[in-house]
C-alpha cells in the first residue's frame, strides 16, 4: 500500500477544511456510537466482559508460538494448507504463486485490512489477474480508485450523492441516490463475478487453534459467497488473530459484534475448517491459510506497545475520535486510521518513519473508554512520542526548534529565580510587541494558532499577587 504517513500534516489540513467530509463522518460516527452503546447496555457487566476479553488476548499472545503450531496442525488435519509469511513481500509472493498454481484469472475478495497491508490488489492486477472487492464499501472505494478509510466501513467518507455519481460514471447505470437501488446495482455486478471467479481471498477475524477453524464476521453475505463459490479459498491473517479455544472465541465474538455495530452476532458468521469434505456439496476444493507476521513479533516483544496486538478491529475508537472525525481515515497515510491507526501504523512500519502521526491526537482518551479489550491508546501514544524524542532507534534528525524550547523551559523550571525572571521578561516583551492587546509579531506556529483564537496576554503573575496579598501591600479585593 502506498505510504503517505509523512504527509499527514498536509492531508489532515485538507481534510479538516472539507465540511462535507466532516458531516459525513460525524453522522456516520454518531450512528455507530449509538449502536455500540445500545449493544453494550444490554450486557450485565460490560466492563467485566471487556476485562475478560483483555485476559483472553493477553493469554493467547503469551502462548502465541504454541497456539500457532497447534493451529497449523489442526488446519492441516482438516485438509487445508498453512503458509508462513515474514513480511508483505513474502505474503504477496505466496498468493501470486497460488494464483499461478491454480491458473487463476479472476479473484473475488472479502473485506480484509491484511490484504491492504500487503498491497495485494495492485500486485494481482500487475500479473493480469482481475480482482473484485465484494464488500459494498470496498467495492465503492475500488471503483473510486481509493483506499478504505475506516476499518469496518471502508467507504464511510463518501455520502450517497458521491456514490451515486461514481456508479453512474463507472458502471454506466442511470443516476440514483436511492441506497437500495445502488445496492442492487452492486449486487448485480458482483453476482456474476462470484460465479466466474477461480479464487476467493479473505482475511479472518479469528482462528481457533483447538479445531483449526477460521472465523469470518460480516453483514452482507459476500464473504460467505467468496469462501464457498470459487475453487480455491485463500485466507490471510495476522499471527495475533489466533485464539486457543471456543470459549475464548465466545468472549471475543460478543465484544467484537457489539463493539463494531451493536450486534449480538454478525449477520453472517462463517466458520471454516479446511476445504470441502467429500460428503459436502459446497465449498472450495482447496483452502490455504497464510499467517503473516509483518512486524507483529517485534511489537509482541515490546512490553509497552504489545497491547496494540489485542485489537479486534471493531472500529469503535475511530467512531469516537474527534480528530478522526475531522481528518478522515486517508489522512493517516497507511492502512489503519484513528487512535489504533496511530499505534499500528507507527509500530508496523519501520521505527521512526511515521513521525507526525503520534501528534495527531489530543490525548482526550475517548478511545480507551470504548475499546472492547481496554487498549490504553493515549498512554501508548505518549510512549511513541517519548521514543521519537529520546530513543536512539526511533528518533531521527534533531529538530532544534522543537528540542531547544523544551530544554530551555526545563532548565528554567528547576531554577525558581530564573522562572520568575523569565516571566517578567515575557511581560516586558509583550509591552513591545503587543502594546494595545493585539500581538504585532508572533512565531509562525503561535500566529497560526491564533488565526481564530485570541492569544492570551501575560498578566501580573499570581506569585506576585500572592506576595502582595500576604504582605498587605495590596488591599484584598473580592474578585480578580
Amino acid at each position: 500500500m502506498e505510504l503517505r504517513v509523512e504527509e499527514i500534516k498536509k492531508t489532515a489540513v485538507e481534510a479538516a477544511l472539507n465540511e462535507v467530509l466532516h458531516q459525513t463522518l460525524s453522522s456516520a460516527g454518531d450512528r455507530f456510537v449509538a449502536l455500540r452503546e445500545a449493544g453494550f447496555s444490554q450486557l450485565e457487566d460490560p466492563d467485566g466482559l471487556r476485562a475478560r476479553g483483555r485476559q483472553v488476548k493477553d493469554r493467547c499472545l503469551a502462548n502465541l508460538p504454541k497456539l500457532l503450531r497447534l493451529l497449523e496442525r489442526r488446519v492441516t488435519d482438516a485438509g487445508g494448507v498453512v503458509h508462513w509469511a515474514r513480511d508483505a513481500s513474502d505474503a504477496r509472493a505466496l498468493i501470486l504463486g497460488l494464483a499461478d498454481q491454480y491458473g487463476v484469472k479472476t479473484v473475488v475478495k472479502g473485506k480484509s485490512m491484511m490484504t491492504e497491508e500487503i498491497g495485494l490488489n495492485r500486485a494481482l492486477a500487475a500479473k493480469g489477474i482481475e480482482v473484485w472487492e465484494t464488500d459494498l464499501g470496498e467495492f465503492i472505494v475500488q471503483l473510486a480508485d481509493e483506499l478504505p478509510s475506516h476499518i469496518i466501513a471502508p467507504a464511510i467518507h463518501k455520502n450517497k450523492e458521491e456514490v451515486a455519481r461514481l456508479f453512474c460514471e463507472k458502471l454506466g447505470v442511470p443516476y440514483t441516490e436511492n441506497p437500495e437501488e445502488l445496492t442492487m446495482v452492486a449486487r448485480r455486478v458482483l453476482r456474476e463475478k462470484f460465479l466466474g471467479a477461480d479464487m476467493g481471498i479473505t482475511g479472518g477475524n479469528m482462528a481457533v487453534a483447538e479445531t483449526g477453524t477460521l472465523a469470518l464476521f460480516e453483514n452482507e453475505g459476500n464473504i460467505r459467497m467468496a469462501t464457498s463459490l470459487p475453487r480455491v479459498h485463500v485466507a490471510l491473517i495476522g499471527i495475533e488473530k489466533v485464539v486457543e479455544s471456543w470459549d475464548d472465541f465466545g468472549v471475543l465474538l460478543t465484544l467484537l459484534a457489539r463493539s463494531a455495530a451493536g450486534q449480538k452476532m454478525p449477520t453472517y458468521l462463517s466458520l471454516i475448517t479446511g476445504p470441502k469434505k467429500p460428503e459436502e456439496r459446497d465449498g472450495p476444493e482447496a483452502f490455504h491459510l497464510i499467517l503473516l507476521d509483518n512486524g507483529r513479533s517485534r511489537v509482541l516483544a515490546d512490553p509497552v506497545l504489545r497491547d496494540s496486538l489485542f485489537c479486534l478491529r471493531c472500529g469503535a475508537c475511530l467512531n469516537v475520535c474527534p480528530v478522526y472525525k475531522r481528518i478522515g481515515g486517508h489522512s493517516y497515510g497507511w492502512v489503519y486510521s484513528g487512535p489504533i491507526g496511530i499505534l499500528l501504523n507507527s509500530e508496523l512500519l519501520p521505527p521512526g518513519s511515521a513521525r507526525d502521526l503520534s501528534y495527531a491526537c489530543t490525548l482526550c482518551g475517548a478511545c480507551a473508554e470504548v475499546c472492547p479489550v481496554m487498549i490504553d491508546h493515549p498512554t501508548m501514544i505518549l510512549d511513541l512520542r517519548r521514543r521519537l524524542a529520546e530513543d536512539p532507534v526511533w528518533k531521527g534528525r534533531l529538530v532544534l526548534s522543537k528540542v531547544l524550547p523544551m530544554k530551555i523551559y526545563a532548565w528554567i523550571s528547576v531554577r525558581p529565580f530564573f522562572f520568575r525572571f523569565a516571566g517578567s521578561m515575557a511581560m516586558a516583551l509583550q509591552r513591545l510587541v503587543a502594546p494595545s492587546g493585539e500581538w504585532k509579531w508572533l512565531p509562525e506556529a503561535l500566529a497560526r494558532w491564533g488565526a481564530r483564537r485570541k492569544i492570551p496576554r501575560f498578566k501580573k503573575p499570581f506569585s506576585r499577587r500572592w506576595k502582595e496579598l500576604k504582605t498587605g501591600s495590596r488591599k484584598r479585593k473580592s474578585s480578580g
Binding site: K9, A12, V13, A16, L17, V323, R326, I327, D356, Y359, A360, C361, T362, L363, C364, G365, A366, A368, E369, L382, L384, R385, R386, R387, A389, E390, K402, V403, M406, K407, Y409, A410, I412, S413, V414, P416, F419, G423, A445, L446, W449, G450, A451, R452, R453, K454, P456, R457, F458, K459, P461, F462, S463, R465, W466, K467, L469, S478, S479, G480
Partner: protein
Amino acid sequence: MQGKKPPRKVSLFIPCLVEHFFPQVGEATARVLERAGVEVQYPERQTCCGQMQFKTGYHREARKMARHFLRVFGDSEAVVAPSGSCVGMVRHHYRTLFRDDASWLSRAEALGRRTFELTEFLVDALGIVELGAEWPGKGVYHDSCQVSRLLGVREQPRMLLSRVRGLEMVDMEHQETCCGFGGVFSLEFPAVSEKMTGDKAAAVVKSGAGFVISAEPSCLLNIGGYLEKTGERVKALHIAEILAHQAGEPWN
C-alpha cells in the same frame, strides 16, 4: 480520603497558565479554599510540573522538573490545583516517569495520593458542596477530558455548580467531546484543532448559555480564545471564579 481526617492545611499548586494568563483563577481558588475552612499556603519555589515536556516525549527534562516539584511539595499535607491536567500529570504520569527509579517512584506515588483537583478536593476530601456562592445567569459546564476521563471527576463540579444561587445550568450537544486543544496537538495541527474548537464553540453557543465553565485552564484558553476572537458573547470562566463570588460582592 474516607475514614481519614480531612486535611487542615493545603498547598496551592498554581499551573503555568494560571500563573501568567489567569492569575485571577489562582486568587479565586485560594479564596474558595479559605472559605471551605482550610489554611492555604503557596510554596514560592514552585514552577512547572513538566506536563509539556512529558507530553512531547522529553522524559529526561520532565523528570528534572518532576523532581523539583516533588521537592517543593513533598512535605505538604495536601496539594490542590485549579487544573485537571496538572493534577493528572502529578498523580498519573509521574509514575510513568519514575517507573525505573524506585525511590522517586515512591515519593511520586505518595504525593500523587495527596494531590487534588479543586472540585474533587472540596467534594471528596472536605465533603463540602455549599459555599454560599452566587452567580446570576445561565452556564454550561465543559467536561475537560483530563478532568473527566483522566481523573474521573464528573459529578463534583456539577454538584458544586448546582448550589450556586442564581446560576442556571444547561446541557450542550456532544458534551464529552474534546475541545480540540490537546496542548502540542494544537500547535502541530493548528487548522484541525481550530475546526474542532469551532465545533465545541458552536455547541456552547447553541446551548444558550452566557458562560462556559470548566475546571481546566487550557480548555478555557482554547474555547474562550475562540469565542472572543470570533465575536461571540459567551464568556469562558474557571469554576473557581464562579464559586468564589458571593452575594453582595462587587463585580469587576
